[in-house]
């Protein structure tokens, strides 16, 4: 059966396709038909619908990505175009090792079905790394939720609990540790939460598998093998759904487009996959592999063959099926989770399948799960599928690789921006007011302890953790047991900066991720990103993406690749998520979210924020300005001003601090960002459960007197706080001077549990950290524990505090 569209108007085409739940526009159908030159079968139409969705085709963002993203630095082995990015880690134990990284969003599914949406987010991103031949050793989750105290608080809180449960359920059962992440609350996410997930793995370089059929398929016949869960109709149209505006009423009917997670089956598949890697090495064969994500089998298998310059003949009825009476378009495009497609030599395909079917008894682990030969690779670059003998898909590479051309004008924000640059809070809290001021700041939704979230996550499985969530500015793992190599990871992005200025949000997402890795003493190696924005058909929203990308690119160029500073710090993998926009007309705060990966040759030399010794000097780097995001306050900000650091100075400062760390001249370090110096010092003087027993005495007279004391403490101008042995202070200061870094030695580490703030001889404040810790450590429990009513009252307090100029 074909859809009768040839010769019809675009509007008629759209109506015809719409009858089948297809979502492309009339003009896009016109272009698809022009590329094919005839009417489409229903499976072909589904394949176009998925391939040309925003999620898969990047039709709105492609031109912007091409304009802005820097060329890949020379240490990158594989970049965009593969399922994950690959960079070299150098020689360890006589073998060249690689780091394999991927980054994606699962925003819309998590808003609709939080547990399943978040879990399949984790499940999907780890597949991208496994299919490259790398064992996944960590995931990070960047979560953005609405205002837990706002008008939608019940729904927001349900989503928080569900998403955390989903992330935990999947990673814990799969046996992949949580290596970090962040959580931010902002009323702009009430209707559209963000769930960004990052996965990273390691592999010896010789084991890396490409996302394409290998050249060897020209010399001998190759089979296509589908491995995993039996195909069902779940997730049909998932990619197209992700490319739509979230509509409250449609949400219910879109639940069918959310995939279902199965970390248990995945664990068995992964163990079998590791056996397959050994098998591949023993047989010395070239293979290709892709995970099945958006577009299901049709998307993955067509890309696998076309990327290698081949075509395919697939017998769709050979696909293991979990439901009776599936139609060919469902088998082709259903987004059933936990599947991979492989290209292997036909002569060995049966033996290859036996790894799953016999060694791991797949069918008895999950009904109808299997590895099955579903077709063959062809020289002719045509993608053909048969259904019980009938040819149902017959598309040339030229036709299927055609990209939709859509007009997407870009416009800058109006001069004033959505929120005018506000005046700063007027008053100093003054005298006894300081304690309450600091408590309400640090117990706010966006500043409080994240332990209530990560106590649900297993950070220890695999036994590779070195710095766990909450322990340092970045997470750190020991990827190769017995070797001294450490890999540091951090994922960052401040929603309030996105709201205020997307360009600077892009810059600061890059610099903060880099700073966190450097604060742990590691050398940044590469970045990944996920760009979460609103409706690309709105020129201003697309202009926000344009600005953020420009900011990211300029920051990458300014910081540079650490091996070769003349090259830009590379972004090796990423994802664009658009249409984060509810039908009520609310777009999310523009959210570029960036992950940074760094290496340290001896993980034992890693730095942590935890204060080490009374008598140490404390140095603050970076110019302090009157800037802050309201992330120090509650999730319903009314004011804020984005930091606009000088990029050349940023680069000098970051490199200088890394040099100090590598020379062993620092006792500890923390990054200075959200929450300013107040938050940075507090986290240095406390851990998850208690005060460290050391505090600080800082003197603001060391700084120019342009900032009031509370402005200074909250200033989010990027920087570091460094703890320095008194015997090394001259050396450290000399180094920072020589590197032309703006810094001040502000005070000392003191015994006890207080932070004392002086200005010359005046004592301005003495903050009791024990009391702050009691509130800071419990705040998020009100969202994640059952006695959830308890948080609402406190929420109202914090909101009040933030609104009335942070004085109380």
């Amino acid at each position: 059966m074909k859809l009768a569209m040839m010769g019809r108007t675009p509007e008629e085409m759209r109506t015809e396709a719409g009858k089948h739940g297809l979502r492309l526009t009339g003009e896009e159908w016109r272009q698809a038909l022009a590329a094919v030159g005839r009417d489409l079968t229903l499976p072909e139409a589904f394949l176009y619908d998925v391939s040309w969705s925003e999620h898969c085709s990047y039709k709105s963002s492609r031109a912007l990505l091409k304009t802005h993203l820097p060329p890949l630095a020379s240490h990158v082995l594989l970049g965009p175009g593969e399922d994950a990015g690959v960079v070299s880690l150098g020689l360890w134990g006589g073998e060249e090792w690689t780091l394999v990284v991927a980054h994606e969003s699962h925003n819309h599914p998590s808003q609709v079905l939080p547990v399943e949406g978040a879990a399949t987010g984790v499940g999907g991103i780890v597949r991208d790394v496994y299919c490259m031949g790398a064992d996944v050793i960590g995931v990070l989750d960047a979560l953005r939720f609405g205002d837990p105290s706002g008008p939608n608080r019940e729904r927001v809180r349900g989503i928080v609990r569900g998403v955390v449960q989903g992330v935990a359920e999947y990673g814990n059962a799969l046996g992949v540790p949580n290596a970090g992440g962040d959580v931010a609350f902002h009323e702009g996410f009430d209707d559209n939460c963000l769930v960004n997930v990052v996965a990273f793995g390691v592999a010896p370089r010789r084991r890396i598998i490409r996302s394409r059929v290998p050249e060897a398929a020209r010399a001998e016949e190759y089979a296509l093998v589908l491995v995993g869960k039996p195909t069902d109709a779940t997730g049909l149209g998932g990619a197209s759904f992700a490319s739509q505006i979230l509509d409250e009423e449609e949400a219910a009917e879109n639940r069918g487009a959310v995939q279902i997670h199965d970390p248990f089956l995945k664990r068995v598949l992964v163990e079998a996959t590791k056996d397959a890697w050994r098998w591949i090495e023993e047989h010395q064969v070239a293979v290709g592999c892709k995970d099945l994500g958006a577009g299901g089998l049709g998307g993955a298998s067509s890309e696998l063959v076309f990327a290698g310059g081949f075509g395919a003949e697939i017998e769709l009825e050979q696909v293991p099926q979990g439901l009776p009476d599936l139609a060919p378009h469902e088998v082709l495009c259903g987004e059933t989770q936990e599947r991979f497609v492989w290209a292997v030599p036909k002569r060995l395909a049966a033996e290859f399948c036996a790894i799953w079917n016999e060694r791991y008894d797949l069918a008895r682990t999950y009904p109808n799960a299997a590895a099955a030969i579903i077709g063959r690779v062809t020289e002719e670059r045509v993608y053909r599928c048969r259904w019980h003998g009938d040819l149902v898909v017959d598309l040339s590479a030229a036709a299927l690789e055609t990209l939709p051309q859509v007009p997407r004008p870009v416009a800058p924000r109006s001069e004033a921006g959505p929120i005018a640059d506000p005046p700063p809070p007027r008053e100093d809290p003054g005298g006894a007011g300081w304690q309450a001021w600091a408590e309400s700041r640090l117990a706010a939704w966006n500043a409080s302890s994240r332990a209530a979230v990560y106590r649900f996550y297993d950070a220890e499985v695999q036994g590779l953790a070195f710095l766990r969530p909450g322990e340092a500015a970045a997470g750190m793992v020991r990827p190769i047991p017995g070797e001294s190599l450490g890999v540091a990871v951090s994922v960052d992005g401040n929603p309030d900066y996105g709201r205020l200025d997307p360009y600077w949000a892009g810059v600061l997402a890059v610099t903060e991720a880099v700073r966190n890795v450097v604060a742990a003493g590691a050398r940044p190696l590469c970045l990944t990103d996920c760009l979460n924005f609103g409706n690309p058909e709105d020129p201003v929203a697309l202009g926000e993406l344009d600005a953020a990308l420009r900011g990211m690119a300029e920051a990458c160029a300014a910081i540079g690749a650490f091996a070769r500073p003349e090259e830009a710090l590379p972004i090796v993998s990423g994802n664009v998520s658009l249409y984060n926009f509810s039908s009520a007309g609310r777009s999310i705060p523009p959210s570029p979210i960036v992950a940074c990966f760094g290496v340290i040759d001896d993980y034992g030399r890693a730095l942590t924020p935890r204060l080490k010794e009374a008598g140490s000097y404390l140095i603050v780097t970076g110019a302090r300005e009157r800037v802050w995001g309201s992330t120090t306050g509650d999730a319903s900000p009314t004011r804020g001003r984005v930091p606009k650091p000088d990029l050349a100075a940023e680069a000098r400062e970051i490199r200088a601090v890394l040099a100090l760390a590598e020379a062993g001249l620092l006792r500890g370090a923390n990054d200075l960002a959200d929450g300013g110096l107040l938050a940075a010092l507090f986290t240095m003087a406390t851990d998850e459960e208690r005060c460290v027993g050391l505090g600080a005495r800082i003197d603001l007279a060391e700084f120019e007197q342009t900032l009031a004391a509370h402005e200074f403490l909250l200033s989010e101008s990027p920087g570091f706080v460094l703890e320095v042995d008194p015997e090394r202070i001259d050396q450290v200061e000399g180094h920072l001077h020589a590197a032309e870094v703006d810094f001040a030695t502000v005070g000392l580490v003191t015994p006890g549990t207080a932070i004392t703030v002086l200005r010359g001889d005046d004592q301005l404040a003495e903050l009791d950290l024990v009391r702050i810790h009691a509130r800071w450590s419990r705040r998020l429990e009100s969202l994640l524990y059952h006695n959830r009513g308890a948080g609402l009252e406190g929420a109202a307090d914090a909101r009040h505090d933030a609104r009335d100029g942070a004085s109380r």
């Binding site: 449960q165 935990a168 814990n172 059962a173 799969l174 046996g175 970390p263 248990f264 664990r267 068995v268 163990e271 060694r359 791991y360 008894d361 008895r364 682990t365 106590r455 649900f456 996550y457 297993d458 950070a459 220890e460 499985v461 695999q462 036994g463 953790a465 070195f466 710095l467 766990r468 322990e471 020991r478 047991p481 017995g482 070797e483 001294s484 450490g486 001896d602 993980y603 034992g604 030399r605 942590t608 935890r610 851990d687 998850e688 459960e689 460290v692 429990e781 994640l784 524990y785 059952h786 006695n787």
Partner: protein, 270 residues
């Protein structure tokens, strides 16, 4: 001859690799054996380790399905012969579900204890944190804990780890099978949260059979096999050692969890 330990892989196990590393670090031979291999092939091993994970997706109850596999019959035979059998986390749940722990000298397969969902005020059961273990009243009868004195910190990560007893008789006999109990950092046993993180009876973390060769242990010693795995903030002597290590070399020395693996190795030498 190096003693050989079988690490049993069930569908859903996920701690095989680090368990093998800890056994090898203790000087033992370690091999991963799949649940669906010929059960008799297990007879040739000297000891058995059931690693952590989520076997069979925790369907019915954690460990319930794996406990009914043919390989567990082989383990029961070998346990009766005195071979060490050690279940960690999900492995402990399997041993308890199979009745191997607490075991029954009379030979019936009656289930005497169970691992119930954690009981933590106001929150869902699954929880993860570092805990401190000290020898319980039954430690001297158990080959894994005989002679143990110092508190051993290691992480726990589970949703169903609360030891409960079936009846009053079993409750009375639990202390003599209690090999490891949760404690405060200074070594005082403590039943209150968070030191006992799951509401377990008698602060029970590890329970053995009467003969002391089968141990069901909920926390993860294999995740504390090198000093590097100990967190910087940890209280007590092991935390102090960790804070003094400033190079990978100094941190790649044995961690607290190895005490239990060495006890196994010593038992296998005899």
């Amino acid at each position: 001859m190096t003693a050989r330990v079988a690490v049993l892989k069930f569908p859903g196990s996920n701690c095989e690799a680090e368990s093998v590393r800890a056994l090898v670090r203790a000087g033992l031979g370690a091999e991963v054996v799949r649940w669906n291999e010929r059960p008799e092939s297990l007879l040739e091993y000297d000891a058995y380790l059931l690693p952590g994970g989520f076997s069979y997706q925790d369907r019915v109850r954690a460990g319930a399905i794996a406990a009914r596999l043919p390989v567990l019959e082989v383990l029961a035979t070998r346990a009766r012969e005195g071979a060490p059998v050690w279940g960690i986390c999900n492995g402990a749940q399997i041993l308890v579900e199979s009745g191997l722990v607490p075991g029954d000298p009379g030979g019936s397969e009656a289930i005497g204890i169970a691992l119930a969902p954690n009981r933590i005020a106001d929150r869902d059961p699954y929880y993860t944190r570092w805990v401190y273990l000290v020898p319980g009243p039954g430690a001297e009868r158990c080959l894994f804990t005989r002679g143990l004195t110092e508190p051993l910190p290691m992480p726990m990560a589970h949703g169903e780890g609360r030891f409960v007893t079936a009846d009053a008789a079993m409750a009375r006999s639990l202390p003599e099978r209690l090999a490891l109990a949760y404690a405060r950092p200074d070594g005082r046993p403590e039943t209150a949260f968070p030191w006992t993180p799951n509401g377990s009876a008698l602060a029970a973390a590890g329970v053995a059979n009467a003969a002391g060769n089968v141990l069901a242990l909920m926390p993860h010693p294999e995740r504390a096999q090198v000093l590097a795995q100990v967190p910087e903030w940890l209280e007590g002597a092991w935390g102090d050692r960790r804070r003094r290590g400033h190079t990978a070399e100094a941190l790649e020395v044995e961690g607290p969890g190895m005490v239990l693996f060495h006890a196994l190795a010593r038992a296998l030498q005899r």
